[in-house]
């Protein structure tokens, strides 16, 4: 998983780039950025051995603000890029980060299959229950009665997506929820997620102060989950589907082995493979 850098100890600042974020002042994503750099520093992952992959959205801009390898791809496909990278380069610490629209709407299918596939990557979704980048439309996690978008003036009227429950049933191996207003907690959870083998999913409630200003009030609602993490999927399922979305902390810790490609080096020469065609 992550290589530990024994010689130089880096501070969170060392994982930040000098590039100024495009985010609105007060956007929750600022503190997620601070948390991820903190987690990487805490684990002492060498900068060159970490990669952050993202799609499109305000939140997906995050790679450029860090100092590790980054990939800013197209909308909704970040998990596929991250999976390909990790499978081809198992030596790297791969994080995938983005928004709820990117991950659960346009990229929803990849979310399901990334959970199933259980590649050893960490997926951090900055969930603001809105499409920030395109100026405020409803996302899959938006409450069905939210009337703030011109596109759905009477509310979406459709069922709200429950990412953690979906992740559990699809096979994610580590499931946690946090709030950007508590950056130390977020950093701690991301660090745990990185260290846990297989596909780890961290939902970070990250307010969009511009299109969902009421989300500033989240700080008064969030609470630590009332129970210890479980590795019993049945119990976790009950909790995840039953909670109101504001229970924070590690909610499920699975023990499925991570996706592996055959690792035993065979190194057969290609000439030998070719011979099969020879008459």
């Amino acid at each position: 998983m992550n290589k530990v850098n024994a010689t130089a100890s880096l501070s969170p600042k060392d994982y930040k780039s000098d590039y100024k974020p495009v985010w609105c002042p007060g956007c929750g994503d600022f503190s997620v950025l601070a948390s991820v750099t903190k987690a990487l520093a805490a684990l002492a992952v060498p900068r060159e051995d970490a990669a952050i992959v993202s799609g499109i959205g305000c939140s997906s801009r995050i790679p450029a603000y860090t100092n590790v390898y980054g990939f800013h791809g197209v909308h909704g496909r970040a998990l596929a890029v991250a999976s390909g990278l990790k499978i081809a380069r198992p030596d790297l610490t791969v994080l995938c980060m983005g928004g709820d629209g990117d991950g659960f709407s346009i990229g929803g299918n990849h979310f399901l299959h990334a959970c199933r596939r259980n590649v050893d990557i960490t997926y951090v979704v900055m969930d603001n229950q809105v499409y920030g980048m395109t100026k405020g439309q409803a996302s899959p996690t938006t409450d069905c009665e939210w009337e703030g978008s011109k596109l759905t003036p009477y509310g979406t009227g459709v069922s709200t997506f429950l990412p953690l429950g979906v992740a559990l049933s699809a096979g994610a191996n580590f499931i946690a929820r946090s709030f950007s207003g508590n950056p130390n907690d977020v950093a701690e959870l991301i660090a745990q997620a990185i260290q846990h083998p297989g596909f780890s999913f961290v939902e970070v409630l990250s307010p969009c102060v511009t299109f969902r200003p009421e989300q500033r009030g989240w700080k008064d609602i969030v609470r630590p989950a009332p129970a210890e993490p479980t590795s019993d999927p049945e119990l976790a399922g009950k909790r995840l589907l039953g909670d109101d979305g504001f229970n924070m902390g590690v909610l499920y810790v699975g023990n499925r082995p991570a996706y592996e490609t055959p690792i035993e080096a065979k190194s057969i020469r290609i000439a030998k493979i070719e011979r099969a065609f020879s008459l």
Binding site: Y19, P46, R47, E48, D49, A51, V53, R61, P63, A64, N67, V68, Y69, G70, F71, H72, G73, V74, G76, R77, A80, V81, A82, S83, G84, L85, K86, I87, A88, R89, D91, L92, N109, H110, L112, H113, T261, P262, A265, K266, S267, I268, I270, K272, I273, E274, F277, S278, L279
Partner: protein
């Protein structure tokens, strides 16, 4: 003349015939005495073992030193449905489908109407069918071919464990002059796992089939064995050749979603990538496949995906990402009939437009095309090399006709092309991933390299890789990405050029074989023809192609599409000296050499 046996069977009587004299100009070179090529169609319903018979015949013929090709045609059924194996054998390399079938063996008449158009027959052809299958359908009965009974089922029943397809194999091998011994090896190889009894039963059925046509006409025979000093030969399909060529170049990561007719590339690559310590992922869809290979390639591993039209359409947005972020990838597109689900099991060259023009934005990319089954090997190897050298996506075009056909051919020449990426050195100061270099190619840092972290971005960016919407950065990067392809020396591989002459055939992909064979026939009659088949479609090698046609008096464009996609492409990118003639035929019927030959000779008469 065959000797008259004392106990002649009905089959023998019907099949026995004097070699007829030549009729029809199409077959003027196929003299009975020195026949160079023979074509066989096996047809039947599911479980009849049509494909096995075809495969074993090809293998047996290869043993005898003949060249050959087998194409397959099947109905829409997943399993069992009717199928046809088309085998063409020759003492010379087989490069195209035959004009006419010499022998058709029908195991039954189930849905035979679906194949009739694909099995041209003439008065020199022979239809062998099982009387137990009932009356011959009208579409075949009206054909000028000779007809004879071959009681496949009855003969097979007399042999314990015997199967009709092995009886057919025995009969056909005798008719074309293959000794029994040549048939033993493929049977032994194919049935190895089933044990000696299965092998014995099959051999007995083959013997019975041979006996059933004993003393039959001899005019379908190919010359007995070619010399022993021959070059090494391969038995390979186009799809396998793509896989092998890519591995040869150093490709080591594949993510893909199954689709006909590309799936065999994946099936072949899965175990072989593993042998070379590479990996294969079956993705959840083509959106995932393309992005997974982009991720793997960003990680420094040469990567490939394979698909067909519907999958290529899904991948388009992300191929544009690979252009913008400058990530080398190879996307193999094995074309089938389109649009939409179209005709999944049959060939067409109608994805040219999407490969050339399907990307949004100004997105310079490379489009290559294999020119033959064995060239799939070369073109795949070259494509991986190009993608890596130019940090750019390559769309490699093949089609069902090339991909799912199997050839016995001379081993393709070894090629030097390997994946060689310009990478950044550790600790490069002020590393600019998208630096504006003269060639347009800039060093690409591999994750794991200290001191050169950067963000690969599909957003327009500065040299440093920072997002930018400024006109100067956009222009500089557009120029850079275009320059890579404009200044690169693609060398002589841009086209396969055959012959000289004032008549020039312009073609590509699986239409190349029929064009080459037609040109050969025309030359045999004293005509002069040059065939140019384009391997590099994009970037267009304008000067080179124009030089090939500048002295032309006639230009004939040959392609397998309805809307003349290749012709339109030629008109868009090259200054042709005059308006060419166009032979564009949509799939699924293959273009046959005689069609091209007729156009070439008729035209010559006209002028």
């Amino acid at each position: 003349m065959p000797p008259d046996g004392p106990a002649e069977s009905t089959v023998t009587k019907a099949v026995k015939r004097k070699p007829r004299t030549q009729t029809g100009k199409a077959r003027s070179t196929a003299k009975a005495a020195s026949r160079q090529t023979v074509s066989i169609a096996f047809t039947g319903s599911g479980g009849a073992g049509v494909m096995t018979a075809g495969q074993m015949l090809l293998d047996a013929a290869a043993k005898a030193g003949w060249y050959g090709q087998m194409t397959r045609s099947s109905g829409p059924q997943i399993r069992g449905g009717e199928a046809a194996a088309f085998v063409r054998l020759s003492s010379e390399p087989v490069i195209a489908p035959n004009n006419v079938f010499d022998i058709m063996v029908a195991f039954d008449w189930m849905n035979i109407d679906r194949f009739v158009d694909e099995i041209p027959l003439d008065e020199r052809s022979l239809i062998l069918s099982d009387p137990e299958a009932g009356e011959m359908p009208a579409a075949l009965a009206k054909q000028p071919a000779a007809k004879a009974d071959l009681a496949l089922a009855t003969v097979a029943k007399e042999v314990p464990g015997g199967r009709p397809n092995m009886v057919a194999l025995g009969a056909v091998s005798t008719l074309i002059g293959l000794s029994e011994e040549k048939v033993v090896a493929p049977i032994t190889k194919a049935l190895e796992r089933k044990g000696v009894d299965a092998i014995r039963a099959s051999m007995a059925a083959v013997k019975a089939g041979r006996k059933a046509v004993k003393g039959a006409r001899t005019d379908y025979r190919l010359p007995v064995s070619i010399g022993t000093d021959r070059k090494e030969r391969w038995n390979i399909s186009g799809n396998e050749a793509i896989g092998l060529g890519a591995l040869r170049a150093g490709m080591r990561f594949v993510a893909a979603y199954p689709i006909t007719p590309a799936t065999e590339i994946l099936e072949w690559l899965a175990p072989n990538l593993e042998k070379l310590d590479g990996s294969m992922v079956q993705a959840e869809d083509e959106l995932a496949s393309i992005n997974m290979i982009i991720g793997a390639s960003f990680g420094g591993i040469p990567s490939l995906t394979a698909t067909s039209g519907p999958g290529l359409a899904l991948m388009m947005e992300s191929i544009g990402l690979a252009v913008a972020a400058e990530v080398p990838i190879v996307v193999v597109n094995v074309q089938r009939g389109g649009p939409s689900t179209g005709i999944p099991v049959k060939s067409e060259q109608s994805d040219l437009n999407i490969a050339l023009y399907g990307l949004h934005g100004d997105a310079p990319h490379i489009v290559t095309a294999a020119t033959s089954i064995t060239d799939c090997f070369f073109t795949a190897q070259w494509s991986v090399h190009l993608a890596e050298a130019l940090q750019c996506p390559v769309i490699l075009m093949s089609d069902q006709q090339l991909g799912q056909s199997r050839t016995v051919a001379d081993r393709p020449k070894a090629q030097p092309h390997v994946a060689k990426r310009l990478t950044a050195l550790p600790g490069t100061e002020d590393y600019n991933r998208y630096a504006l270099t003269e060639s347009g190619v800039s060093p690409m840092a591999t994750p794991g390299t200290p001191g050169t972290t950067y963000v690969a971005d599909g957003l327009e960016h500065t040299e440093r890789g920072r997002p930018s919407s400024q006109s100067k950065d956009h222009l500089a990067q557009l120029d850079k990405r275009a320059r890579k392809l404009e200044t690169f020396a693609f060398g002589d591989h841009w086209a396969e050029i055959d012959g000289e002459g004032e008549t020039v055939v312009l073609t590509w992909g699986s239409s190349t074989g029929p064009a080459l064979e037609a040109a050969k026939m025309v030359r045999a009659q004293g005509g002069k023809v040059k065939v140019v088949s384009l391997r590099l479609l994009m970037p267009a090698q304008t000067d080179r192609l124009e030089a090939e046609v500048k002295d032309a008096k006639r230009i004939l464009v040959v392609e397998q599409s309805h809307s003349r996609q290749f012709y339109r492409y030629l008109r868009a990118f090259y200054d042709l000296p005059f308006e060419p003639e166009v032979f564009a035929q949509p799939g699924p019927l293959p273009i046959r050499p005689l069609q091209v030959q007729t156009l070439l000779t008729d035209g010559q008469k006209r002028s």
